[in-house]
Symmetry: C2
Subunit: 486 residues, 2 copies
Amino acid sequence: MPPSLPSHSAVSRAAAAIPALARSASTSAGTAVTPNKPPPNKDHLINTYPAEAFPSGFQVASTHSGIKKKAGVLDLGILVSTSETSCSAAACMTRNVFKAAPVTVTSELLRNSNGKARGFIINSGCANAVTGKKGLEDAWSMSNTTTSNLPQTNKDNESTLVMSTGVIGQHLPIDKILGQIPNLIKNLDSSPKSWLDLSKSFMTTDTFPKLRCRSFKLNDKEIKLVGIDKGAGMIAPSMGPPQQPHATLLGVIATDISINSNDLQNALNYAVDRSFNNITVDGDMSTNDTILCLANGAAPGQQKEITEKENPKEFSIFKEELRSFAEELAQLVVRDGEGATKFVTIRVKGAPSYEIANAVAKSVANSSLFKTAMYGEDANWGRILCAVGYAPLEPNPISPNQVSVTFIPSSNLSNKEPLKLLINGEPHPNIDEERASEILKEEDLEIEIDLGNGQEESKVWTCDFSHEYVTINGSVSSRSDLSWFP
Amino acid sequence: MPPSLPSHSAVSRAAAAIPALARSASTSAGTAVTPNKPPPNKDHLINTYPAEAFPSGFQVASTHSGIKKKAGVLDLGILVSTSETSCSAAACMTRNVFKAAPVTVTSELLRNSNGKARGFIINSGCANAVTGKKGLEDAWSMSNTTTSNLPQTNKDNESTLVMSTGVIGQHLPIDKILGQIPNLIKNLDSSPKSWLDLSKSFMTTDTFPKLRCRSFKLNDKEIKLVGIDKGAGMIAPSMGPPQQPHATLLGVIATDISINSNDLQNALNYAVDRSFNNITVDGDMSTNDTILCLANGAAPGQQKEITEKENPKEFSIFKEELRSFAEELAQLVVRDGEGATKFVTIRVKGAPSYEIANAVAKSVANSSLFKTAMYGEDANWGRILCAVGYAPLEPNPISPNQVSVTFIPSSNLSNKEPLKLLINGEPHPNIDEERASEILKEEDLEIEIDLGNGQEESKVWTCDFSHEYVTINGSVSSRSDLSWFP
């Protein structure tokens, strides 16, 4: 599918990226990190697509409403389904106890509508979190004002979902927002530029807009998906269905497949657990994390709603496409992690269960000492083992003398031979320092940890911990305009 | 007690330190952090004591054995009990799955001797962790060579415990170490300089040696304690009795009280759970963490060993003194946290249980976003709530509309009035920005989080996250000589 080629080449880079580190802990030579080594430019990750790449039956618009100070910066956007068929909607939201108002309102809207929606409205610059009663009123009026300004339909249970991201503890400039809604609706269209602008209206500390398209065949019919997400800091999502909301991660996947709401929710839960819930930038789970999925059934030639019960084959094809697409979108957030200079895949295999593999991978992925070692391009496997060793497991199935650690070279390098550092709990007698160093210089790294105690595995994606991260988050001024909250 | 006055004034500063932050999340004004703001000088935390401040019946010595590259830097030390009465010994050690060889050996020595020891030998610069069979042989020879070179006694079950700290995955230069042991034993004495030198031989990335003395009265007899510890990074201890070892934190408390070994272990478990296990620098639990406690009964005028069963009153006095002393020693590690510019006390009150209060406090104390905000002197209570909201609690007893957050001014400031930022889940309508800013400039901070749902509380001590932390841990060269591992 040509239109989504750029994103596919991107994802295959990411997926196949089998990077590694350099210089074993046993080296004595060493070079200091250049202070404030700047993160690489991310512009090559901005994808654009022709009109035919986007799913049918959706229109979008965005504008500058004045939430963000800088004139002209997009901070408000809407997406609307124009399909004749009703639009199924599902969401996974933060499990943080302090749920932002838009999280609460979107959950209630989905419950009231039994998983139907007209579309969503999003603002950036202010999270509408910890804003008490007025925060809830503001979130409700964003939703209701949008719905009531849209052309009437006979699907009166279809409402407008709402998302916010930005600083915590501030009230929205609600009059500015409501004042822009008629204007937004007037400008709705489905042009590639409008889709890219919508993705820009999601941004806070993001350095590039995150927009991806892909398509797949289902019974010879082409189904299209578009995905937008944002996030750079306060990224360690744990999201579940609306009943148990948790987010500084915001994302939406819109598709023109026709699918039953409950099955869409099940497919989204499966996809989010294996994608967005397996990324971390700083280990901080936000108050607003939300991933929406809208399926409007507008793809030509579809007979009736897919259900898992009646169409198990079609459902599982869609579920896997959704997981793979969610993984691509989730990895973009890690690549744009605040101050990130590295993209690190932690693969834990040989575990008795997926949950154990996942807990060990997250323990390493969130270790400050490991992440600063990545920044220093330092193959400090001691820090990796240390983090494996304190993963919260009760009972703990890890036997130190069964654990192996291997750095697998980036696909960019000619020599694809894995570099073993630890074998069954014993350090490799003589590590090829030069090769390790060459491997570690790559932006992409993969670290394989084999627990030697089972057949299950899990992958988690993380970035490094840089001077720039401290500059971004240790600076009061960074909070005053484009806050990453949350 | 004049000798320990300096340390008491230090601890009362620390204990009474009720600091706070500045600038609420609702401010729009902001000032950027000066890049690489250097940590304050810590020399004022170096205490010296006269000979009479140290407990009776202990001798110490230290030397440069060549583990650390820099000539003359102390990297090997021993402590020996010279008391006629037998020396009770207890330990709390890392729960990390990857226990370093000295942790395993010390655990076995304590089991074999039923909690008796002659003393200990310690090296810094190399952790002897993840070093396989040879690592265990090396740890055993450090212990056995020391014991066999000491004057014979009739207490043949009293062996020499062993501790190591430094880089992971390297073998000890064991010949250099063993070659120095006779020399060390020849130089044993109890002079204040030798005690200070011993504390220097513990150091890795520490910026100052950590030595404290105190004494207390027990039935009109004076009992003395000396404490030494080290640690600056890989600090998030969770230590239990030898059966379940876990450390980059190393510490020893030697006292001349006479107490039964089992009761000494129980007192140490109680003290460590409320002190060393409640500090964090970077959330990384090390492979070597060890706290030893030696009680040689050499204090004049003691009749017989104290036991909890027969001397409940005396035992509880000792237990509380030990807890308070361990708290003082633990706080020194946080004050010397890698790159630390702030000392932050997180007090969670109004909790249904100590465990819940402790889990919430640790969630905040380990949040990268919270710690960088402290570095930026930014009263970003949104990040505090966020971390409260993702504390791992099942079931979760926290009701957002019952949670209050207050910054309590440092005792150094004239205005002692607490500064409320969040009251029952609602932001304070108008925070005094100037006062918040004044409060946050102090090095010491206390943040009070009231869950409004019970009577229990817990305190955790943490530091900020600075550019300097990244420089220290993102630099390969920092690992090549004085490694903080572990």
